[in-house]
Amino acid sequence: MLSTANGASGRRLTDSVHSNATLARSSRADRMSYALLSAPALVVYAVVIIIPIVYSLALSFTDWGGSGMPHFIGFANYISMFRDPIFWHSLRDNGLVIAISLIGQIPLGFFLAYILYRQLIFGRAFFEAIIFFPSLLSPVAVALLFGVVFAPSGLIAQVIGMILHSNLFELDSFNSESTAIIPYLIVILWMYTGLYMIIFLASLQKTNGEMLEAAVLDGANEWDLLHRVVLPGQIPVFMTSAIYAIAGSLKSFEVLWIMTNGGPSYYSNVLGLYMIQNTFTYYKYGFGSAIAVVLILLSTGLILLLARGTQYLSARFE
């Protein structure tokens, strides 16, 4: 029976027996160790993060516009947010961003990493470098770059124009409410797949070579190896990558801001950009904070869902 890198369930019983014994022995020294080990991180974190949490939460119930005294208005911000069609459309676009991250970046990153790890092709260092490179680029540059690529008379339009022998071909398929976000989806796929690839590459190194050997000797081919031996062991990495992807997808907007400014109209807006617009362009700090709070709740919800899903998957693969 193949056991995964995580301890199998048989461990748990002995865990608790042992820890009870050790707990009884020197709990005071243990508590000191616990404090010493965790305090530095917690202190830095708490001191900095408390500020925006309290600020956002408190302001979200006011109508503060950046000056004067804030007035308490209860849930009015939240209500007007849920009535705002731009909010819902931004949510939809954000959903697509998350979907691309989870279904596009991560599996693709894993697949590429696997190919490189199993050395199925030559020139590994070169591919690693090239595919990882985009994640280090400045958001400003990427936005301008792809702004020109997807523009109505941009790179893609010109290439298509050459194929169709038409000089004035214009790419306007991304002008509609439903498709305006697509260029951004392609951009983030381009930018971040390399990051996940590197992470998976790192994690694949940990795979037990002997297990692979044994499986091959048992008659497994490359495909079997992939989905029976390697994949189950990588589930934790998928999980952490997914968490990172969800949090990141809901937070990021800088590239989109410069690339489309949420346009045309509001068709390619996302929640992060929606929040910035309301805070710094319309001076609705209270409303902007409410959006921040909603973002936090959304991410929490999604991550919890993800945790459930992963538990289920791990159980299946055990």
Binding site: G66, G147, A151, N167, S176, N261, G263, P264
Partner: protein, 444 residues
């Protein structure tokens, strides 16, 4: 009783003399003791303004060696975000870069900037500056910023004369002619007009503002803005202006791809001869200057928008614009700092320093100084002639009205009109509803 009056008036005049004396003494020490000032500007080393600032400051510091100004430069969006944070935390720099209208309303409408009128009167700026540049900016007539005396025209029709000649056309006199030209131009395989509305403010600032100004006139707009005289944005002038945008799209003057076209690309189309016209602001002159050869520069025409049938304001030598951005003084400055800051502002408006502006292709307009003889480049000459030839400045929407309404409803709505997903009447009604409920112009 006579004695007490005399005594009182004596005391009063003594106090007055005393404080006047003190005031005077302060003014003197302000020019002699060392003063440190800070300022932030919303342009960086890729803008000509940045280098003009360096030159101006060099000359200023040479004249007033005791005044040191430390300027921080950042890009446009970063500037506004940072200034808001600085305002909230009470740490604004001494010199604020301000727009004349709502763009920096988060500072001017909230009492962070000092009113410059006392200084303007004291130093008689009216002697060298046109009244236009000393016009009221704040709700009660305050003047918050002064900069290079120059109107930032937002709506100019640039034309490629060589291409016009080639197609056998001349600059259109009326909108009807303009629309008719669209067909001819497209048949010949060129774009009629490019704007580059991807950042969404272009159609509003560079087209709609002029249309609104012409169709309704500045007086009507003032009433609609403040909700006086029963005027509102549901009135025919506004709806008609929006209708013209729709008509221009149908006629093919505004391309359906405009909402996704970046300004840089629009410029590229115009410069490479693929488009006959380019509608944008006066800031494009700098870009045209660097991307065209001198021969090509001579072929650029600059005109206000053609005549529109049914205009309420019939002087067609009018286009939308706002006076240039400039410096204001933050209320957190000490009297000594404020005085030094004023010296800087006054210095940069002084006609004696016009040569620095000319050196960087910025063309100021003074009361008693005509600079056209000192401008040699054909494009810059065309630009100066354009500026000097406009009689009336029409209001720019995002300068006068609150950002949220203009951006969320008008800017976005214009893109939707071009794409065909809303109608002029709907958009006008939507905007009026918002303005009536939220705009600070209607609510005090």
């Amino acid at each position: 009783m006579a004695r007490t009056v005399t005594l009182k008036s004596l005391m009063l005049s003594a106090v007055a003399a005393f404080s006047f004396g003190i005031g005077h003494a302060e003014a003197d020490s302000a020019t002699t003791g060392p003063v440190q000032l800070t300022g932030i500007v919303p342009y960086t080393q890729v803008d000509a303004d940045y280098f003009e600032l360096q030159d101006m400051y060099q000359r200023f510091h040479a004249k007033y060696p005791n005044i040191t100004i430390h300027f921080d430069a950042m890009d446009h969006d970063a500037y506004h975000t940072k200034m808001q944070a600085l305002a909230i935390s009470g740490h604004l720099p001494n010199l604020l870069s301000l727009w004349p209208g709502k763009r920096t309303g988060y500072l001017t409408d909230r009492g962070y900037a000092m009113d410059l009128r006392p200084w303007i009167t004291r130093d008689n700026l009216a002697a060298t500056q046109r009244a236009l540049f000393l016009a009221p900016q704040g709700r009660d007539g305050q003047i918050y910023e002064l900069g290079v005396p120059y109107v930032l025209w937002t709506s100019i029709v640039y034309a490629n004369k060589a291409l016009l000649d080639k197609l056998g056309l001349t600059f259109p006199k009326t909108l009807k002619d303009f629309e008719a030209q669209a067909v001819v131009i497209r048949k010949a395989g060129y774009h009629p007009v490019v704007f580059g509305d991807q950042s969404s403010w272009i159609l509003q600032s560079c087209l709609l503002s002029t249309l609104v100004g012409r169709m309704g006139g500045p007086d009507w707009f003032q009433h609609a803005r403040f909700g006086t005289n029963g005027a509102s944005f549901n009135d025919p002038p506004f709806v008609k202006a929006l209708q013209i945008v729709q008509d221009m799209t149908t006629a093919g003057l505004i391309d359906k791809s405009e909402p996704s076209t970046m300004r840089e690309q629009a410029l590229s189309e115009f410069v490479s001869g693929k488009s006959v016209y380019f509608i944008g602001g006066i800031w494009e002159v700098e870009n045209l200057y660097t991307s065209l050869t001198p021969a090509m520069r001579a072929e650029i025409l600059m005109q206000p928008f053609p005549h529109i049938d049914g205009e309420a304001f019939t002087d067609d030598a009018s286009t939308s614009g706002e006076i240039a951005t400039g410096f204001g003084i933050s209320k957190t400055s000490t009297p000594q700092q404020a005085e030094a800051a004023w010296k800087w502002i006054q210095f940069s408006m002084d006609p004696a320093n016009a040569d620095i502006y000319l050196k960087h292709d910025i063309l100021p307009i003074y009361k008693n100084l005509d600079l056209s003889a000192r401008i040699h480049d054909p494009l810059l000459h065309t630009s100066y002639d354009f500026s000097s030839g406009i009689h009336t400045v029409l209001p720019v929407l995002d300068d006068k009205m609150d950002a949220e309404g203009v951006e969320q409803i008008i800017n976005a709505g214009l893109q939707e009109i071009v794409l065909g997903s809303t109608t002029p009447k709907q958009l006008a009604a939507q905007y009026e509803t918002w303005v009536a409920a939220h705009d600070s112009n209607r609510h005090h």
